[in-house]
Symmetry: C2
Subunit: 262 residues, 2 copies
Amino acid sequence: MLVNGEFADSVKANDRGLMYGDGVFRTLRIEKGVPLHWERHYCKLVHDCAMLGIACPPIERLLDDLGRVSANNPDCVAKIIVTRGTGGRGYLPEAGIAPTRIVLASPIPDHAKLSEVAARFCDIRLSSQPRLAGIKHLNRLENVLARMEWNDPEIPEGLLLDAEDHVIEGTMSSLFLYNEGRLIAPDLGSCGIEGVQRERVLELASECGIPVQIRSFGRDDLLKAEEVFLVNSVIGLWQVVKIGDVSWNKGEFCATLRKWLQ
Amino acid sequence: MLVNGEFADSVKANDRGLMYGDGVFRTLRIEKGVPLHWERHYCKLVHDCAMLGIACPPIERLLDDLGRVSANNPDCVAKIIVTRGTGGRGYLPEAGIAPTRIVLASPIPDHAKLSEVAARFCDIRLSSQPRLAGIKHLNRLENVLARMEWNDPEIPEGLLLDAEDHVIEGTMSSLFLYNEGRLIAPDLGSCGIEGVQRERVLELASECGIPVQIRSFGRDDLLKAEEVFLVNSVIGLWQVVKIGDVSWNKGEFCATLRKWLQ
């Protein structure tokens, strides 16, 4: 683990990342020492930092950090955290404080090998906050509480709804439906994370002439869709084949899209 | 600063407090070495930890920590942070992980001496999340973004509304109105923090036979109220005497209540 480019395992206890969740993060795969889709991840990081008014670290520094944390582990998952840094009286940050940059590598989780999964609907609802929607920020208590709702190892992911009963995403993944030749992605205007893998799926679909709809949908729409799937940069694509009593066969669209993504 | 009872200024970078804002905090005054309203603060800490399923540290340890951080500074502000600790695969915490306990002291801020203040309305709206409402948790990006909206040192506090245009609280304080002999406190069922000082005000009013209403109100109700005031454990009571073009004279109720609180 590197903290501001130095091998370390700790950060200042008064870092605003800890005090307030005042920061952003990214999770990505490194394969044979190469961070996958790095430009996209960096663009998202720049965007998310800008939305919070945090100075984003230069790309060369992060690339250098990624190279160092993966040197002995060229196939791994990397996490980048950028906090606003240390300083300020209460919630008001000090002007010009230096951000804290944390880069760490961890083994690829076993569940990344899965292709089909069971899922469940979570009880907790995502709150609506247009100012933070889409951003991969460090205020993730809703995700933690959602993930604590179940402990069945056969169910690797839970689906989150908003207060209006729209299904938005998985606790750690982006959600899509495929139905009648159309790709449907939830609208993330008031909550949810705009991930790199979601962006790639939307672009691939457009490039291949598959009509894309970004719109709100409920539990029933989801359960009636021909194919339901989840994506993120670590797991790739998981087709949802079971939710409660409802089950799906392996889908052709998911199989094709998985190949395209790889 | 003490981390798990040891003098230290850092925490593990993979602490869930930093990764996800997975924790709670309290801010309190220490006067002549005595933590003010300690039992109330500890009760709130126990409650907030329980709401998130975090094991709350024993009261003796925290009292010991408070004594040690204030030993050379018997009049100070203390902050207690309790995170869920380090561990777990992603959002799911490991079973039985030990919480991280951080206790730090800092000087009493100059603004704690103020009695009357100017305030403003913030643009960002608090999101509605009944599962987290009332809890003093570490997901405080909304407060940070709100506090970054202005930089006028003559305005020490901003007021936060929810998406339905109800005024809920200050960025770091609880809000009350006093009108026609009644004390009015915002309903915190879907957002906001239930602070110790708010609890004390509500109890004092009840004990003194002042009718209390806990209900939603908007900007106009606030601007027409006879007295508007803010409380927290550090500042005591600030009467709001100016918001934009609207101003108030020093109020009798605020003066009396300030004495009671002391």
